[in-house]
Symmetry: C2
Subunit: 311 residues, 2 copies
């Protein structure tokens, strides 16, 4: 097997791209893919300060690595979700990555933001699915931190497998508003929202894993324990079955959707533009934002439990 680019001995085969690469050409290919995504989708410029949401997994660390390599102005943000050993291992990997490269990593620990605010506690008290509570809190802190520290852009490590699985889930339930919003770049619709971008949206999980391996990035291998049994994994499994039968299908599925089948974004006036949360000042649909509702609910449940325990 020869490298598609230099005709040397190839080490990585990419069936989806009908290509094979030697190590140096693979790294070049990967960087080019990211560069093209950033440019073609007008994600950000070298003049903008980027906040990279870093989980300690391969995708977000590979993203950070490649953006540093491409000369972007990056700062990492690690959100400590308080999911036991998984979270501490994730924190260690993210911190070690930043330290070894002299990069800045900001850390926010949910448990320090308020009593009972770690993901398992919030999920347990409010009886919400852990992934739903986690998502609400992540979105809140990403926006709030970016806005408060002057970052116009938050970049996340969502890869092709994530995006294709999300698209499949949205299609299987015909979630039209979600389909309209599933984009590699989401512009802010409120002064306290920032631009959200996914520079790896065309790069598969497999390709990011190879990149991380070749770049010797040390990352958390285990999935979040809350993801076990998650529907998202069923969608990924379905798409992997398809990809095996017909390499490149995931990419076609996502790209064709974005280029010719995506519903229009509803005009800002359709549901009304986001209002401003009376409690925290962040954007809200209603008087209070989703995060503050979660905090209220958690606090109320905690107090009720404490009271009944004391009685």
């Amino acid at each position: 097997m020869k490298c598609t680019r230099c005709r040397g001995a190839a080490e990585v085969q990419l069936r989806a791209h009908n290509s094979a690469f030697c190590r140096p050409c693979y790294l070049l290919f990967f960087r080019l893919q990211v560069e093209r995504a950033v440019a073609s989708e007008k994600m950000f410029t070298k003049e903008e300060r980027l906040l990279i949401a870093v989980s300690g997994g391969k995708d977000s660390l590979a993203l950070w690595d490649v953006l540093v390599d491409l000369g972007y102005d990056t700062t990492g943000l690690y959100l400590g979700l308080g999911i036991g050993a998984y979270s501490s291992r994730s924190h260690d990997k993210a911190a070690a990555f930043a330290a070894a490269r002299g990069l800045t990593l900001r850390v926010v620990e949910l448990a320090e933001e308020g009593p009972g605010m770690a993901v398992p506690a919030v999920a347990g008290l409010t009886r919400r699915p852990a992934c739903s509570a986690c998502g609400t809190m992540k979105r809140h802190y990403f926006d709030q931190l970016a806005i408060d520290r002057g970052f116009p852009v938050v970049a996340t490590g969502h890869n092709l497998d994530d995006e294709a699985a999300r698209l499949l889930g949205n299609v299987l339930h015909w979630q039209m508003p979600h389909l309209a919003r599933q984009r590699p770049v989401l512009e802010p619709t409120h002064p306290r929202f920032v631009r959200k971008v996914k520079p790896l949206f065309r790069i598969s999980e497999y390709e990011t894993a190879i990149y991380s391996f070749l770049r010797r990035i040390d990352y958390v291998v285990d999935e979040c324990p809350n993801a076990v049994g998650a529907t998202q994994l069923v969608y990924k499994d379905m798409l992997n079955r398809l990809e095996t039968a017909s390499p490149g299908s995931k990419l076609t599925f996502l790209q064709d959707f974005l280029s010719r089948a995506q519903p229009e974004l509803p005009s800002a006036n359709a549901d009304g533009p986001p209002q401003t949360c009376v409690q925290c000042g962040m954007p809200a649909f209603g008087e209070v934002c989703g995060y503050c509702r979660l905090v209220r609910e958690t606090t109320a449940k905690r107090e009720r439990r404490a009271a009944s325990g004391a009685a």
Copy 2:
């Protein structure tokens, strides 16, 4: 496990419907499902003569059986595709079913319609995928026979699994015109087209198999040999994985699409209404219809082969 309807001992469990039935109640449930589909989609009335496309498989025979039972005026149509032993077994089953019930079965053998017109010969000579050649010929004969013999409606045995798999395939490639046309009822757009209906579109393959078993319908069990490796089977497999994880998903996927996500049918003027084939008088997009193009091509290839063999 108790019958959802009569509280007797259940024999059939339907996880997708969160129900279980004893034999008599299952047959009733099945008939009701078909009756409701026919009524809610305005498929046909008791006054209309129905031509049932019968392959000898469980779906088309179950469809014929239930429509007879519901008192509709039905005639079967068996199209002999000439696919070796599979076709002869299919013909035998269809003929035996009709004979045992005193029903009329019309038979058209492709091989008798013209030399080299059986599916394997056409596919071999024109180098088209067998399923593509087969589809073109089926559509032609269904419409032609219906129109010539005074049937305003052709009913086919497509079930939920077929329709959900087709929908998934159309979505994975974002085939917008195909998505617009995928309906349980397709009204004719030309005087020599008839209405096409799929009364089993909400009933799963599993449910039809159970019905056929309980009604002692003797059908061809083997899949068409040309279907081996067909992408359609990959889509079915993907959906079966989903259905196992989340029963009822196939039905939701199809129903929600039809009720709130289907693109509009293009107006008749968009691509121009179908013209009339100068050769056979059937509808055509262009001067000659797809079937006549296939015949022309097959004939030309046969003659060229015969000439080079004689030279």
